[in-house]
């Protein structure tokens, strides 16, 4: 079943959209409790990797394992369900359900999908809102919250599924600079708690501070994969150097 002891194992995955090959053989393994940041230019396939890990996008070729789930072999939404329980995702545009309050957004899936008991879920949801410092916003609708607040509700919603892994897809890219900080603070606490995180991000400073490892992707490949101090201070590949030269 498992090829290695890693929690997440990705081996040589390929994915095309029409004629355009987005992923040209990506391999990556992530250990339990590790925080891995994926950086790289737009269109290099960063978000696509995340979507393949939790099965939102089927891959054309390759091997993906998360825990005991061989993701590339799961075909139906029903087969995916145990995986969804184990892997949560937070999106760039928050993607909260606009017809539900913050508290209801967090409670919906644990009750409706996982079948957990309502009272217990509400208790869990309120604690999570406290954790993301939005305890007073339980009854607010997403439309009444700022971008940063919505994103923290989205993080609480992901945590309410009690996942082992959270995938963060450019979660600060749509935020005002002053609200970026509060979201990053929340994520940092999760990493410190030992939750396994994979983050696609443009926040280089944050990646450097929080990540155990940083992957640089370019044109569908992981060009360089190293601890942040090595990757940022001593990049080996010319493409990494060029990219870092532009963004730092």
């Amino acid at each position: 079943m498992k090829r290695s002891e890693a929690l997440i194992e990705i081996d040589n995955i390929h994915k095309s959209f029409g004629d355009f090959e987005v992923l040209k053989g990506i391999s990556l393994s992530v250990n339990e409790g590790e925080a891995v940041c994926i950086i790289g230019p737009s269109g290099s396939g960063k978000s696509t990797v995340l979507r393949c890990i939790n099965g939102l996008l089927p891959i054309d070729e390759g091997f993906i394992r998360v825990g005991n789930h061989r993701v590339h072999e799961l075909r139906s939404e029903k087969e995916m369900r145990p995986l969804r329980h184990q892997v949560s995702m937070v999106f760039q545009q928050y993607n909260l359900f606009p017809h539900k309050t913050a508290l209801e957004n967090i409670m919906m899936a644990p009750i409706q999908v996982l079948g957990h008991e309502r009272a217990e879920v509400e208790d869990r949801a309120r604690k999570l809102l406290e954790k993301v410092r939005l305890g007073n916003k339980a009854d607010s609708y997403p439309g009444m919250l700022s971008g940063g607040q919505q994103q923290r509700v989205a993080i609480a919603r992901a945590l309410a599924m009690q996942p082992e892994v959270i995938l963060f897809d450019e979660v600060t890219a749509a935020l005002d600079p002053e609200t970026v900080k509060e979201v990053l603070l929340t994520i940092r606490e999760l990493v410190d708690d030992g939750l396994t995180c994979i983050l696609v991000t443009h926040e280089m400073k944050f990646a450097r501070e929080v990540a155990d490892r940083v992957c640089f992707t370019d044109r569908g490949l992981i060009v360089e994969n190293a601890p942040p101090a090595d990757l940022f201070d001593n990049p080996q590949d010319p493409r990494t150097r060029e990219f870092l030269g532009q963004v730092l």
């Binding site: 029903k78 949560s88 909260l96 899936a109 999908v113 996982l114 439309g143 599924m161």
Partner: protein, 238 residues
């Protein structure tokens, strides 16, 4: 006043007809509206599944019922459903009667007519669904069916509520055509009364007022519903 004679309104028989007519009109409208909304939701769900033959089937249904006069549909339902062998023998008289009453035929035909329009309304609502919402639902483990009922329908129905109001008010008015196939609703009794009293203008004025009041109540109710369902921070709630 203006030479109008409403003395016939004092007759309990006519009062009774009017009340019965209003009740039957309300029943017909309520039943066919509910079924039409259900057809609309299921049809739109069917279209969203993107199955080739199902798409073709639903499109065909919509084209047929949207592009033909509802009166024709009603007559068609009334005469074909009874000649297609859907008959039963009345236990009291021993006569052969259609299995489906005129009321049932009117209800079926109005439901299909309204349903065809509602499919288009719900479809347009579902098509405005941001891909992000669908993706969030999937990533939280919702099945296609659960996503539809718990996430997409609540959001889409808010979007298409104004056009649904139009469809329902139109459907309400179209119930008057059921008088042609002898359904004893308001329009039918109006005819009975002026045939009896020859007070055509007076009866028509009264019926007109009754329809205005009933349809106004419906559209007021729908606008209240719209206000109630408005999401803070979206559309009118901004």
């Amino acid at each position: 006043m203006f030479g109008l004679d409403y003395s016939w309104l004092a007759d309990p028989a006519y009062q009774n007809w009017l009340v019965t007519g209003v009740i039957n009109t309300l029943e017909l409208a309520a039943l066919s509206s509910s079924v039409a909304i259900l057809i609309g939701m299921l049809g739109a769900l069917g279209l969203s599944l993107r199955v080739f033959w199902l798409d073709a089937l639903i499109e065909f249904f919509v084209e047929v019922f949207r592009n033909t006069p509802p009166l024709l549909q009603m007559l068609f339902a009334y005469f074909t459903l009874s000649t297609l062998g859907l008959k039963t023998t009345d236990p009291v008289t021993g006569l052969e009667v259609p299995l489906l009453s005129a009321f049932a035929c009117a209800c079926i035909s109005l439901s299909l007519f309204g349903g065809a329009l509602a499919i288009e309304a719900f479809r347009s609502g579902l098509e405005t669904m941001p891909k992000a919402i669908t993706e969030a639902g999937r990533s939280l483990g919702y099945s296609r069916w659960a996503r539809f009922w718990r996430i997409e329908v609540p959001i889409a129905s808010r979007v298409c509520l104004p056009s649904l109001t139009n469809i329902l008010t139109n459907l309400f008015k179209t119930t008057s055509q059921a008088s042609v196939i002898t359904v004893p609703e308001l329009m039918y009794y109006a005819g009975q009364i002026y045939n009896d009293t020859f007070r055509t203008l007076e009866v028509m004025i009264l019926i007109l007022i009754i329809y205005v009041v009933l349809v106004s109540i419906l559209s007021y109710g729908m606008s209240r519903l719209e206000a109630y369902l408005t999401l803070p921070g979206y559309g009118k709630g901004q």
